[in-house]
């Protein structure tokens, strides 16, 4: 990838100034230059970056260097605090109307992910909040958009209200509300057609729907890969509809997602949810602080750790952490972990959350094929007890024996050994990172 995280970027500047007692204006200037580049590469809007940098400069100059922090870390800290402050706290509450039904309107550009998100929200409302939502198909324009929502409805076993493609979206929405009242649905989620923010006719249509159904929530659905234009889109939708929140989609991709920051800056509306996959249960509360790390290129380590924690039992996790830290992680642990990891979900999802994982050559292959896991298991199972504890024992004849025993080849065995070493290194990084989060040693792995 062409992009480096902010941490990588700052490294050279930091080297120069470690050991100084104060962050000088020149230091800050050099570092904010790098911060600026990192933010722009992450697709944060040019003007938003400009404002941010101004504030960061003001805050960073003249600061005493804390003993526990290098000046570089300190700048990162300021930057991260600024970003997190800008993004606001976590707000994934969904409004509840005084009188049912509560009406949610989904809006956004073409291809942003409105229909899928409509399905996900309905699923969330039912599963987590025990509600009974009615889905409404108001996209009469895109071919088969109604079928798409109907299919999702079937998958979820939830009702979908539609009147075909000849009806007027405003009428559809209105009738849907009546129907919801009759059938005692407590939520109505209206899926609207994707449209350009500069398409005045279609924007007018949204205003009409809004004035007829009086929604309690108007969500703007935005693709997290959006570039500089995110500000124009968010500003227009917000000005014309006074949106109540934002849903950021496709965050399971590898985009930095700077659009999140731009949108928040221009609308000051909360980003409520994040779409994390194509499946209907992959909608999560949006975590502003994690997004800040992600934009800065520090990986979504926290999500990973949280994910690990819900699946790995506490005590085992503690033991593992110790082992990771001491680098005493063995193939036996690896085998055991693989079982745990399998429970966490698709491997490449996990790997894509680890900072720098895609840069490590050995890992690039490791993340690929879930079938490969069975090979790996076979190889480890063909090792002797000692070999599993101490990979340095490995020599040509042992490797040959293992390959034969596991029905693989020596090069496969070699590959695994290499991957194992890479993995150990990475684990060490991760545990350090995690500690940093807790505010204890505050040592970042990249410094």
């Amino acid at each position: 990838m062409a992009f480096e995280g902010l941490a990588d970027r700052l490294q050279s500047t930091i080297k120069k100034i470690t050991g100084k007692g104060k962050v000088s204006e020149q230091d800050v200037k050099e570092m904010t230059r790098e911060v600026r580049l990192a933010l722009l590469e992450a697709d944060v809007n040019y003007k938003v970056v400009k404002d941010l940098i101004k504030r960061i400069k003001e805050r960073a100059v003249g600061q005493e260097v804390m003993e526990s922090l290098t000046p570089g870390q300190q700048v990162i800290k300021v930057v991260k605090e600024e970003l997190t402050a800008l993004m606001g706290g976590e707000q994934s509450k969904i409004a509840v109307a005084d009188k049912a039904p509560t009406v949610i309107m989904m809006t956004g550009l073409q291809g942003a992910g409105k229909t899928t998100t409509t399905g996900k929200l309905a699923n969330l409302l039912r599963k987590k909040h025990n509600r009974s939502p009615l889905l409404v198909a108001c996209d009469i324009y895109r071919p088969a958009a109604i079928q798409q929502l109907e299919t999702l409805g079937k998958q979820l076993d939830l009702p979908v209200f539609s009147m075909g493609t000849d009806a007027n979206p405003v009428d559809i929405a209105q009738k849907a509300i009546e129907k919801a009242k009759e059938e005692h649905h407590d939520y109505v989620i209206i899926d609207t057609a994707g449209r350009l923010h500069v398409d005045s006719e279609l924007m007018q249509e949204l205003e009409e729907i809004k004035s007829v159904v009086k929604p309690d929530e108007i969500y703007l659905v935005v693709d997290s890969m959006t570039g500089q234009d995110a500000v124009n889109v968010a500003e227009s939708f917000n000005e014309q509809l006074d949106i109540t929140g934002v849903v950021l989609t496709k965050l399971d991709g590898d985009t930095r997602g700077g659009a999140a920051l731009s949108i928040k800056a221009v609308t000051d509306k909360p980003i409520k949810f994040a779409g994390m996959g194509e499946k209907l249960d992959q909608l999560e509360a949006f975590h502003p602080d994690r997004m800040a790390s992600r934009i800065l290129g520090m990986g979504d380590v926290l999500s990973l750790i949280e994910k690990a924690q819900t699946n790995v039992d506490e005590k085992q996790a503690k033991e593992l952490e110790e082992k990771m830290k001491n680098m005493s992680f063995t193939f036996d642990d690896f085998l055991e972990q693989m079982g745990q990891v399998k429970k966490m979900g698709p491997l490449d999802d996990l790997m894509s959350m680890i900072p720098g994982a895609n840069k490590m050559k050995g890992l690039k292959n490791a993340q690929i094929d879930e079938k490969q896991i069975s090979h790996v298991e076979a190889i480890i199972q063909s090792m002797t007890k000692n070999e599993r504890q101490d990979p340095s024992l490995m020599n040509a004849s042992r490797k040959k024996r293992i390959a034969k025993g596991s029905g693989t080849s020596v090069s496969q065995v070699n590959r695994l050994l290499k991957q194992f070493e890479e993995m150990k290194k990475m684990m060490k990084q991760m545990t350090n990172m995690q500690k940093g989060k807790k505010g204890k040693g505050m040592k970042f792995p990249f410094m």
Partner: protein, 331 residues
């Protein structure tokens, strides 16, 4: 003859044509009428001196168009050097240098035109269409089918997106609109099998072109990228020399991630060209400059709306004009 002169000649020769294309772009993009060089003139006129302010605004305009920060920095550095070397003090004279550099970034060493589709005579041509979710693949396929059919070609579509709800029906409706056959199986079936079927049917119908739709996928999903590579292998196996085009559909609103998309999709399927969609919005799609520059991937088509006719062959001049339009339009 220098590169710039050649380009100028081309520009003048095509002035009528360029104007027409620009007008079309304008309708789509709601931009003004003046030619690109005229616009640059305006910009230059506002700044008498080529100074830091001038370069800063240039930087802002380009970055805001999603050109990408490193490309812009390089460009500006080169411009500054060039300005110094030629001892340009007057902003009017910097115009040529800007145009030259920008076009250079796009075309690189060769200014060869690679916009046209590689279609076979007297033989089935296969076009594989790939891209992330919601980029505009299915819509672009509908538009392209219509366009090729207008040119007298017999076109068949294969509904290779068996995953997303309603995807097959969507392509079916486009097939109906364009008046071409759609080969499909049930939702959830193996995409490679659908494409295989599509090839067989296209052959037996003596079709000229088969366009294969695929499910949208994010490029970091390794399993899904492998699935795509498999689809391509099936095509290669069934028709030697195919696929003749692998088109990556990119949403113009996408930021820097588009470069990662282009790289990873190329690794999996050897992309031959780009369809840049949704240029009728306010996004500029500047990232294709970097994509062309770094990966030598040409843009072949641009999408300018949701109607069947809203697909046009890419025009580099009109595109560059679009990047600047806002800066040039001010007051």
């Amino acid at each position: 003859m220098g590169f710039m002169d050649k380009w100028k000649m081309k520009f003048q020769k095509n002035e009528e044509e360029t104007k027409e294309v620009s007008t079309k772009y304008k309708d789509g993009m709601k931009k003004t009428r003046q030619s690109f060089s005229g616009r640059i003139n305006d910009l230059i006129a506002r700044y008498r001196k080529v100074d830091e302010d001038f370069f800063e605004e240039l930087e802002e305009v380009l970055i805001t168009a999603d050109v990408g920060v490193s490309t812009v920095m390089d460009l500006i550095d080169e411009l500054k050097m060039e300005v110094k070397r030629q001892n340009i003090k007057d902003s009017k004279a910097v115009k040529d240098v800007i145009s030259e550099k920008l076009v250079e970034i796009y075309y690189g060493e060769d200014d060869e035109q690679t916009e046209h589709l590689n279609l076979q005579e007297e033989q089935l041509s296969i076009i594989l269409v790939v891209g992330v979710n919601g980029a505009g693949k299915t819509t672009s396929i509908g538009k392209l089918a219509y366009q090729l059919k207008q040119q007298g070609k017999k076109v068949v579509l294969a509904a290779g997106d068996t995953f997303r709800a309603g995807a097959i029906e969507q392509l079916d409706i486009w097939g109906e609109r364009a008046g071409v056959d759609v080969i499909k199986q049930n939702e959830g079936s193996d995409p490679a099998a659908v494409i295989f079927d599509g090839i067989k049917s296209a052959k037996s119908r003596n079709a000229d072109v088969l366009i294969c739709d695929t499910a949208g996928r994010l490029q970091n999903k390794v399993n899904l990228m492998n699935e795509l590579a498999k689809v391509k292998r099936v095509i290669e196996r069934e028709v030697p020399g195919a696929p003749h085009e692998v088109l990556l559909v990119l949403d113009a609103t996408t930021g820097q991630n588009a470069l990662s998309q282009a790289k990873t999709f190329s690794e999996a399927t050897d992309v031959s060209g780009i369809v840049l969609t949704k240029l009728d919005g306010t996004a500029k799609g500047g990232i294709v400059l970097a994509i062309r520059h770094e990966l030598q991937l040409p843009v072949k088509y641009v999408g300018l709306g949701e109607k069947m006719e809203d697909l046009q062959e890419f025009d580099a001049h009109a595109f560059v004009y679009g990047l600047f339009a806002d800066m040039l339009e001010e007051d």
